[in-house]
C-alpha cells in the first residue's frame, strides 16, 4: 500500500466523495446521494479498521468486506480507488459497456468486491458463512458487511441476524446505513423497523447507534466493535444524511435514484471543496 498515512480520515472521506461524484457524472444520475451518505463509514473501514493488501486483494489474511447493498457499488469503488485497489482512470468506465465497474456490485468483475450484489438481503447470510469458515480455519480475520435500511424489510436478514447470534460470531461487524430511504420512499414509512437498536439487542447482538456522518463517532464505533469482549456479533447502526457534503443535494427532494443536471456535477465537486475549509 502506498504510504499516504499522513492523510486524515476526513481527507479520505472527502476523496471518496469526490471520486463518487466523478463516477456519478459518467452516468448522469444514480445512487450518488447514498455514496455521499456512506463515505465516512467507508473511510473508517478502509483507512482505519480493516487489514488488507492493496496489491493483493485476495490475500488470505485480509479482513473481508461484503457489500450487501450492491447498488452502493459506486461508493465502494470510490473507496477501492482511494485504497489503490482499483486504478483511478477506471472510474471513467463506471456502469458502462465492458467495464469492471458495473452499477451493481459483482464479485466476478471487480477486484476487492467480495460478493455479487443486486439482489438485496443476502450479504448478511454470506457473512455468517464466512465467519463460520474463518473460525474453522483458525483465522483471526474479521468480516465486515454493509447493508441498507431497506434490507431490514427482508425476512432473510433477520434469519441471518438470528444465526449470527446463535453461533456467537464475534468476528462479524455489520453496518446498517439508516438513511431513511428506499425505492418507494422513506424507509420508516415503507415498513416500520424501529426501535432498531432494541430489536437487534434482543436478537443477541452488541449494538451501537451513531451518527454515521460524524467521522470521530464512526471511528470510535469501529474500535469498540473490534474490542468488545462479549462473544456476540456486532452491529453499527449508522444514521446518515443522503447527499452529505453537498448542501444542494442534502436539501433536494430525497430519492433513491436521483437525476443531477449536467452542470451540477462541477457544482457538487465545488461544494465538497468548499466544505473542507
Amino acid at each position: 500500500m502506498a504510504d499516504l498515512s499522513n492523510l486524515s480520515l476526513a481527507d479520505r472521506a472527502y476523496h471518496i466523495r469526490r471520486l463518487a461524484v466523478r463516477m456519478g457524472e459518467v452516468q448522469g444520475q444514480g445512487y450518488i446521494a447514498q455514496a455521499l451518505d456512506i463515505a465516512d463509514v467507508l473511510a473508517v473501514a478502509y483507512f482505519h479498521a480493516m487489514t488488507y493488501k492493496a496489491d493483493d486483494p485476495e490475500w488470505e489474511g485480509r479482513d473481508r468486506f461484503l457489500l450487501s447493498n450492491g447498488h452502493y457499488a459506486i461508493a465502494l469503488y470510490a473507496a477501492l480507488i482511494e485504497a489503490t485497489i482499483i486504478p483511478e482512470d477506471e472510474l471513467e468506465t463506471y456502469g458502462s459497456d465492458d467495464s469492471r465497474l458495473p452499477m451493481s456490485g459483482m464479485a466476478q468483475y471487480t477486484p476487492g468486491m467480495e460478493m455479487s450484489g443486486g439482489s438485496l438481503g443476502i450479504g448478511l447470510s454470506i457473512a455468517v458463512g464466512k465467519c463460520l469458515g474463518l473460525k474453522r480455519k483458525g483465522s483471526s480475520s474479521r468480516v465486515y458487511t454493509l447493508f441498507s435500511d431497506g434490507e431490514l424489510d427482508e425476512g432473510s436478514v433477520w434469519e441471518a441476524i438470528m444465526s449470527a447470534a446463535h453461533y456467537k460470531l464475534d468476528n462479524l461487524i455489520a453496518i446498517v446505513d439508516v438513511n431513511n430511504m428506499q425505492a418507494d420512499g422513506p424507509s420508516t414509512q415503507m415498513m416500520s423497523f424501529e426501535p432498531l437498536k432494541e430489536k437487534l439487542e434482543a436478537f443477541g447482538w452488541y449494538v451501537q447507534r451513531i451518527n454515521g456522518n460524524d467521522i470521530e463517532a464512526v471511528q470510535k464505533a469501529f474500535d469498540q466493535a473490534k474490542s468488545h469482549p462479549e462473544a456476540k456479533p456486532r452491529m453499527i447502526i449508522a444514521d446518515t444524511l443522503m447527499g452529505k457534503g453537498v448542501p444542494f443535494l442534502e436539501q433536494r427532494d430525497k430519492s433513491h435514484f436521483i437525476r443531477v443536471d449536467a452542470h451540477e456535477w462541477q457544482l457538487a465537486l465545488d461544494a465538497l471543496d468548499a466544505g473542507r475549509s
Binding site: 452516468q27 458502462s96 459497456d97 458495473p102 452499477m103 468483475y109 477486484p111 438481503g121 418507494d184
Partner: protein
C-alpha cells in the same frame, strides 16, 4: 481470476447502463406511459375487490398510479417479496383480487416457494405482475429474469402471459381482472412502445394470433420479441424475404391448435423468438408439441444463451445476445441462405 482493466480506445465513448434504462422503444417510435397502472385504475373503478400490493417497487412497476388513485386499496409491504406473495394469497383467500408487483427476478427466484404453495396450489386470485422480464435490465444477472417463463411455466395452475406492447398490456390487465386464479404477467413499464394498434389487434386469453403472413419463414414469438420480429419482417422485405409472425402472448396454456396449424404449412422454416433463456420457454414448449404431433419443419430458436448475462447498456446486450432487430435479421438471412 478477475479480469484486468482495459482502458477504452481513446475517443470511443462507451454506452452507459442507466442512460438506457427502460429504453425498449426505438427512436421515434410511438409509446404510451404506464399502460398497466392506468388500465388497473380504470378496471378497478367498478371492481372494489381489486387490491394493489408491492414490495418497495410501486414506482418501478407503475403501480404508483394505482396507489395514488386508490390509496386505501393499496398495501406497501416493504422490500419483502416472500411476505408480499404470502400476504397476497391471504387477502385473496378472503375474497379480494390482488395485483402484486415486483421485479421478475424477485417473484420467480426469491418468492417461488411462497407463490407455488400459497397462490398456485391454493388456487388464489393473485395476479403477479413483474417488471424487468427476460433481458430488459443492464444491471447484470441479479436483475435479468432470463428464466422467469421457465419457472412459472413449470408451476401447475399458473397462467403465464408475455405482452408485446402498451396496447396489449392494457388489454391483459383488463382481462386479468376477470380471470379466475393465479396468473403471471411480464410487465413493460414506463414509456412502453405501441405496436399492435397498427394490426387491429385484440388480445384473447389463450389465443395465438397471426399478425402477418409470410412464405419463407414463420416466426413464433411473444413479448417484445414480437415487436422485434415485426420490425425484422419489414426490413427483410427489402431482401425479398417473406416472414410471417405468429404472436403468442399466452405462454401457458399454449394455443397448440393455432401453432400446429401454422407450423404445419409446408415449405417454411419455423423460428421461435423469445426474450428468455433457450431453456424452458416458448421455444421448447413449441418444439415439444410439434414433435409429439409429428410436425417437423426446419426449426430455429432465437433466445438467450444458458449463461449469466453481462451488465451493460441494453441495446449493446440485445445485439450481443442476438435479440435486437438487426441481430434477428442477420440470423434469419443466414438461415435462409
Amino acid at each position: 481470476m478477475k479480469p484486468k482493466f482495459t482502458p477504452p480506445e481513446s475517443g470511443k465513448k462507451r454506452l452507459t447502463t442507466s442512460a438506457m434504462i427502460a429504453s425498449l422503444a426505438s427512436e421515434g417510435q410511438a409509446t404510451k406511459p404506464a399502460p398497466f397502472g392506468h388500465a388497473l385504475v380504470e378496471v378497478a373503478r367498478t371492481r372494489p375487490e381489486i387490491i394493489g400490493m408491492t414490495a418497495d417497487l410501486g414506482k418501478y412497476t407503475d403501480l404508483h398510479i394505482f396507489s395514488q388513485a386508490y390509496p386505501d386499496r393499496f398495501h406497501q409491504m416493504g422490500m419483502a417479496e416472500q411476505n408480499l406473495f404470502g400476504a397476497a394469497s391471504g387477502l385473496a383467500s378472503e375474497g379480494f383480487t390482488v395485483f402484486a408487483t415486483t421485479y421478475a427476478v424477485f417473484a420467480s427466484r426469491r418468492a417461488y416457494d411462497f407463490i407455488h404453495q400459497t397462490i398456485a396450489e391454493e388456487d388464489r386470485n393473485v395476479k403477479i405482475v413483474c417488471a424487468l422480464p427476460g433481458l430488459t435490465s443492464g444491471y447484470g444477472p441479479s436483475h435479468q429474469a432470463a428464466e422467469d417463463l421457465a419457472l412459472f411455466r413449470a408451476m401447475p395452475n399458473m397462467t403465464v402471459l408475455d405482452p408485446c406492447d402498451a396496447l396489449e398490456t392494457e388489454q391483459i390487465t383488463m382481462a386479468l381482472a376477470d380471470h379466475k386464479g393465479p396468473a403471471y404477467m411480464r410487465l413493460l413499464r414506463g414509456q412502453v412502445p405501441l405496436v399492435l394498434d397498427e394490426y387491429g389487434y385484440t388480445f384473447k386469453m389463450g389465443k395465438a394470433q397471426l399478425l402477418r403472413d409470410g412464405k419463407d419463414a414463420l416466426v413464433i414469438s411473444s413479448g417484445i420479441l414480437t415487436m422485434r420480429a415485426l420490425e425484422a419482417s419489414k426490413q427483410l422485405e427489402n431482401d425479398k424475404i417473406s416472414i410471417g409472425v405468429l404472436h403468442v402472448p399466452t405462454i401457458k396454456p399454449l394455443d397448440v391448435e393455432t401453432i400446429r396449424r401454422e407450423a404445419a404449412q409446408t415449405g417454411r422454416m419455423v423460428i421461435v423468438a423469445e426474450n428468455h433463456t433457450e431453456i424452458g420457454g416458448l421455444g421448447e414448449a413449441v418444439a415439444r408439441d410439434l414433435l409429439l404431433n409429428g410436425i417437423a419443419p426446419v426449426f430455429k430458436h432465437i433466445a438467450l444463451p444458458d449463461e449469466f448475462l453481462l451488465a451493460g447498456a441494453l441495446p449493446t446486450l440485445h445485439d450481443r445476445y442476438g435479440i435486437s432487430t438487426q441481430a434477428i435479421c442477420a440470423s434469419i438471412k443466414g438461415w435462409l441462405g
